[in-house]
Amino acid sequence: MTTDTAATIDLSTWSCPLPLADYPEIVMGHGGGGKLGNELVEHLFLPAFRNAALENLGDAAVFDLASGRLAMSTDSFVVQPLFFPGGSIGALAINGTVNDLAVSGAEPKFLSASFILEEGFPLAQLAAIVQEMSAAAKTAGVQIVTGDTKVVERGHGDGVYINTTGVGLLRAGISVGPALAEPGDAILVSGTIGDHGMAIMSVREGLEFESQIRSDCAALNGLIANVLSAAGGAVHTMRDPTRGGLASTLNEIASASNVGIALDERAIPVRPDVRSACELLGLDPVYVANEGKAAFIVAPECADVVLSVLQAHPLGREAARIGTVTTDHPRMLVARTAMGANRVIAIPVGEQLPRIC
């Protein structure tokens, strides 16, 4: 989806065009708990997210899950711009929570979707976002079963904020977590890093690069299911390196597991256009956000199996083995540079800032 998609949405094609068409922009009444809000639910959210649990529109969704352990995760999405090359806030809101559940070893099942809308926000754009959410949920195989809508006064929001909370069922026999990395484990990443952050930056800042960088925004539960089926208990840790990038994620694992992490800088896959854009701005791709990548820490004897499973999946074709867990330099991430020297990759203080020169 590109930035102009919102403009192409034709409200007349929606299930009941009249009430929505009366208000082509969000008004405070859409969040007032009255008729306008109901219309938003009935004519926009329900048709897009339709399923049995949502259908009853109760105060809570009621659903059956097989007995077992549940995982639950929540995340709020405040991205600007709302549409960017390779995705939108809607796709992010689904995939982000799906991935948080998936890397915890759970099979994502049900999501909530809460919208904080700004007065004056075009309904056509909201419809486009909802359509993206619906498509992303279908792809990920999850259902949106409950939700909420609030409207804030013009100037008090950024168009739309979305919160999603997800529930998933933990797979039997799988135990993964940031504190479970062991010395000797192999570190793998499912593909090129930095794509999402640079895609956002290129449109947000109006930077023009020779090629359009696209976000990697995607649901990883299918890919992760394949890995767990093949390697099961050999997978010790999985994380999706979103904000703060691969550097933050691996630093957190090193700290939580009290181990060192040795990376081979040359093995970390980075798209050439992303690398060029990072060079131009003085940014390091290891700190740039991803929305469709996972890092895996697995027992060394299963590293090759996991790598081949990853590479066999459409979302993992460029997967690579990038390093090893070690007892050296505990709680630190140290990369072997292309020069053959070592450097620490520290956890970033805040967002990376483009350099003067």
Partner: protein, 372 residues
């Protein structure tokens, strides 16, 4: 990456490093002037590849680091004013002033924006005729042409709401000041390649002669830096002292004449205070009389600035090459990137930040003495 990976070839780098080892018979202290070079040296681990005794001393070439505290405080005061859009390159936002930084001003409601070019700030002024747009014109000779172009364009377009807060500093006077300072131990310089791409290197032969120092115009990639160091060591071992251009793919003797013409149209040299170092005569640029209307200091008349540097911070000694970051008592303790006392810890090009971020697996003793 075409024309970049070629300069990051590990095998060739090892070969050049072995050559440096083979020709080195004595300890040498070589200063890289530019913070970008410091960053590249530490990030790529080049200091670890050099013979014991060949020491890279980090110079004052981080524009963020040497911007005087008083000017940062002025920037904070201007940015906090209602009706102002204050534009800056990203890495100035976290630099601590006396009481706060630009991020905090933004958090309190100031309209602080990161731009990638001063020309973007000019466009903001065009689009916001009822607001005053100020661009923080920081940097060495490298960033100066674009900043000069911004006021040139603003004048040509008749903009009354654009101004520049200027803190431009110049490399040759800094080399002169470092070599003239008592106790100086620097024996050779790697001149900053991108500065020379603008200014050429015609200013350097008199310095090489006056102080008997090799000056090598050097780029930023690992092989550029190793080649610059190799050439410096060859000259030092032979007792020679002349200027060499090891960055011929970018730099010519005369430099970019069109950029120099624009610079002389807009700026004039002035005495400039360098944070942590002090005033260096004729080491900076300010807007000249023809462009004074675009000077933010003149436009906003900020007064009553009282600057207070942290007494624990030894950034000035680091910038002069007198100590290594790890030798500062506050390094990694009271002073970290999260809570920086001085600009050398906050700027991504700052020597302290480079050491903290990339070299922390070395002991403090190693950090203090790396390369000695």
């Amino acid at each position: 990456m075409k024309y970049l990976d070629e300069f990051r070839n590990g095998e060739i780098a090892q070969r050049v490093a072995r050559e440096i080892h083979a020709i080195t018979t004595r300890p040498w202290k070589i200063m890289e002037v530019c913070g970008g070079q410091t960053h590249s040296i530490i990030k790529n681990g080049i200091d670890q590849m050099l013979p014991v005794g060949v020491e890279m001393v980090h110079g004052p070439g981080c524009p963020v680091c040497v911007t005087p505290l008083e000017l940062i405080d002025k920037a904070l005061a201007i940015a906090a004013q209602p009706g102002v859009i204050f534009c800056s390159f990203g890495d100035m936002l976290r630099v601590p002033g006396t009481d706060s930084d630009l991020f905090q001003v933004k958090g309190r409601g100031g309209d602080v924006r990161v731009v990638y070019s001063p020309l973007d700030a000019v466009e903001l002024a065009v689009k916001n005729p009822d607001r005053q747009v100020v661009f923080f014109g920081v940097g060495f000779e490298t960033t100066a042409p674009a900043n000069a172009m911004s006021v040139h364009l603003a004048k040509r377009r008749g903009l009354k709401n654009f101004s520049l807060l200027v803190s431009h500093v110049l490399v040759p006077p800094a080399i002169d000041a470092i070599m003239s300072s008592p106790g100086n131990q620097v024996q050779a310089f790697l001149a900053a390649g991108h500065v020379c791409s603008v200014m050429g290197y015609w200013e350097y032969p008199p310095l090489a002669d006056q102080f008997n120092i090799p000056i090598i115009v050097t780029g930023f990639e690992p092989l550029d830096l190793l080649d610059g160091i190799r050439r410096a060591v060859i000259q030092l071992e032979r007792g020679e002292h002349h200027v060499e251009n090891a960055y011929e793919r970018i730099v010519s003797y005369a430099g970019n004449l069109e950029a120099q013409r624009l610079l002389s149209e807009v700026f004039e040299t002035t005495d400039r205070a360098w944070r942590g170092i002090g005033v260096i005569p004729r080491s900076g640029w300010k807007l000249n009389a023809a462009y004074r209307d675009f000077d933010a200091e003149e436009r906003f008349h900020i007064s009553g600035i009282r600057t207070v540097e942290s007494p624990l911070c030894h950034a000035g000694d680091v910038l002069r090459g007198a100590i290594k970051p790890g030798e500062c008592p506050a390094f990694g303790k009271e002073c970290t990137p999260r809570r920086p006392l001085g600009a050398t810890m906050v700027s991504s090009e700052g020597a302290c930040a480079a050491y903290f971020n990339y070299g922390r697996f070395l002991s403090f003793e190693q950090l203090a003495g790396a390369g000695r």
